[in-house]
């Protein structure tokens, strides 16, 4: 394994040691948390702005359009311009809205997506939170987001918002199950719920490849269910703009709307990063089998690509896939959405888990 050249462990532990040399342990923790927090906020804003721009360009190319081109070269500053516009817009509220909850909702949504990012293994040693129940943690915090959506829909005092919020509730309750079940397959394979261990178990091959058919089925189900969980098309029933105007965020304007907007894109990033971690080995480079001639040279070449590039590359591919879904398919109806989950995804998933367990017992996987 020659992947240690891009190991961040040394860097992070150096920071930790130099800090604890001058400060008390409690102060060290506080300073470290602050640094991590600031880094994540900056990261969050950057990724959010980039994803909005990327989505606009991707959908433009899919739709035979040019996309944003006016602000900056190839329009790269378009989202910043949009952000400034939204910042300066008036914040509106309906007459009998529940003021406290109405203002709280965007923060809950954004915090939920923020917390999930903390658990992502960006590169070796670049891992803010590494619980031994990492998968459970990510599932749990990404489920908080729906509370924000429900609150937004309910407190808006708008019937369209309420329909959107309730749809979203039904949707998350159903699809959370499929996401969990799909991840269960990998948990069985890897034998751990700790994200770093799952990544480490993929050093000799990604689970998508060494898990045979069960892992592929689980991956497909994970992609479908997580697209549904992020309320993106074709599962964007909660905002379904041709039916519910804008669904749960109909009444939001200005920066509060921007929060929802940003959270949607960050959720997409979280889900894609999570998928890349669990199924595609996070920062693990792509290796081919040693049986193929000259494989070791190829593998060494792959090792020279830094881990975080692998991570963002895989995440980007999955995000592209989700965008591709959104700009191709029509939206489902609420009953069809639930049918898809309870009649198709869940039974297939259950059978899949049994097959996985059988595979693991017989040691059929690599």
């Amino acid at each position: 394994m020659a992947i240690d050249i891009y190991d961040f462990t040394g860097m992070t532990s150096a920071i930790h040691e130099s800090l604890s040399a001058v400060l008390s342990p409690a102060a060290t923790t506080i300073v470290e948390m602050t640094i991590i927090g600031i880094v994540f906020i900056l990261f969050y804003a950057l990724v959010g702005l980039f994803l909005v721009y990327a989505e606009r360009k991707v959908c433009a190319f899919i739709q035979c359009r040019l996309g944003p081109r006016r602000v900056g070269p190839r329009g790269i500053f378009q989202t910043i311009a949009d952000f400034i516009k939204l910042l300066m817009k008036e914040l509106l509220m309906t007459k009998n809205a529940d003021k406290f909850l109405f203002n709280l909702a965007p923060f809950i949504v954004i915090i939920a997506s923020f917390m999930a990012i903390g658990a992502m293994p960006f590169a070796k040693g670049l891992h803010a939170l590494d619980f031994d129940i990492g998968i459970l943690y990510v599932l749990a915090v990404s489920g908080i987001g729906v509370i924000g959506i429900l609150l937004a829909g309910w407190s808006s005092n708008n019937k369209y918002s309420l329909i959107g919020a309730l749809r979203s509730g039904a949707q998350i309750v159903s699809y959370e199950l499929s996401v969990g079940m799909a991840l269960m397959t990998i948990i069985i394979f890897a034998g751990s719920m700790q994200l770093s261990e799952i990544v480490a178990s993929q050093a000799n091959g990604w689970w998508l490849f060494k898990g045979h058919i069960p892992a592929i089925i689980a991956f497909v189900i994970f992609m479908i269910a997580s697209t549904a969980e992020t309320n993106r098309g074709p599962f964007d029933l909660a905002e379904a703009e041709s039916e519910l105007v804008a669904g749960f965020h109909t009444e939001y304007s200005g920066i509060k709307f921007a929060f929802f907007f940003l959270a949607e894109y960050m959720n997409m990033f979280v889900v894609a990063a999570f998928g890349a971690t669990v199924f595609l080995g996070a920062w693990m480079p792509f290796h081919i089998s040693e049986m193929i001639p000259y494989a070791e040279y190829f593998n060494m070449g792959m090792d020279f690509i830094p881990g975080f590039i692998w991570f963002f590359g895989k995440t980007g591919m999955l995000i592209l896939l989700m965008m591709w879904f959104k700009w191709t398919f029509p939206r489902l109806r609420i009953d069809q959405l639930l049918t898809l989950e309870w009649k198709y995804l869940l039974p297939i998933n259950l059978v899949n888990i049994v097959i996985t367990a059988f595979f693991v017992l017989t040691g059929f996987h690599f």
């Binding site: 899919i62 359009r65 191709t328």
Partner: protein, 159 residues
Amino acid sequence: MKEIIQYFSDVFHAVKSLLTGMRVTGYYFFHHKEIVTQEYPENRATLKMFERFKGEVLMPHTESNEHKCTGCGICEMNCPNGSIEILTTFETVDGKKKKIIDKHIYHLSMCTFCGLCVKTCPSDALAFGNDFEHAVFDRQSLTKVLNKPGSTLNKEVKE
């Protein structure tokens, strides 16, 4: 058993139809030559438009500042919206009083581009222009006088 086969064939066909759709959009994603939209036509000088495009009503003038309008008022009569007003004045030529055009007032804001004025004009004095940028800050500037100041009637036009 039949139901189970049906179930899996449903899943298979569904996935197949979805992939067919994704192939279409994926094709366009990677083929940027198929892009059809254009940026706003900033190249006003070199922009080539269809010559019959109905942008606004104009009165073509020759180089010697001559137009063909006799001030007969047929366009005013034919306009369904009253967007044309003709003000005439009298000029004395060889001791005879003659009616000539003073101002041919055209309200662009009221025009629906039906083309009746251009079609019915007996001396072909009016034509459509290609200008498409009509946004202005003041509504007054949409009221235009079509005959240029100091212009005279083209001699070739019979009254």
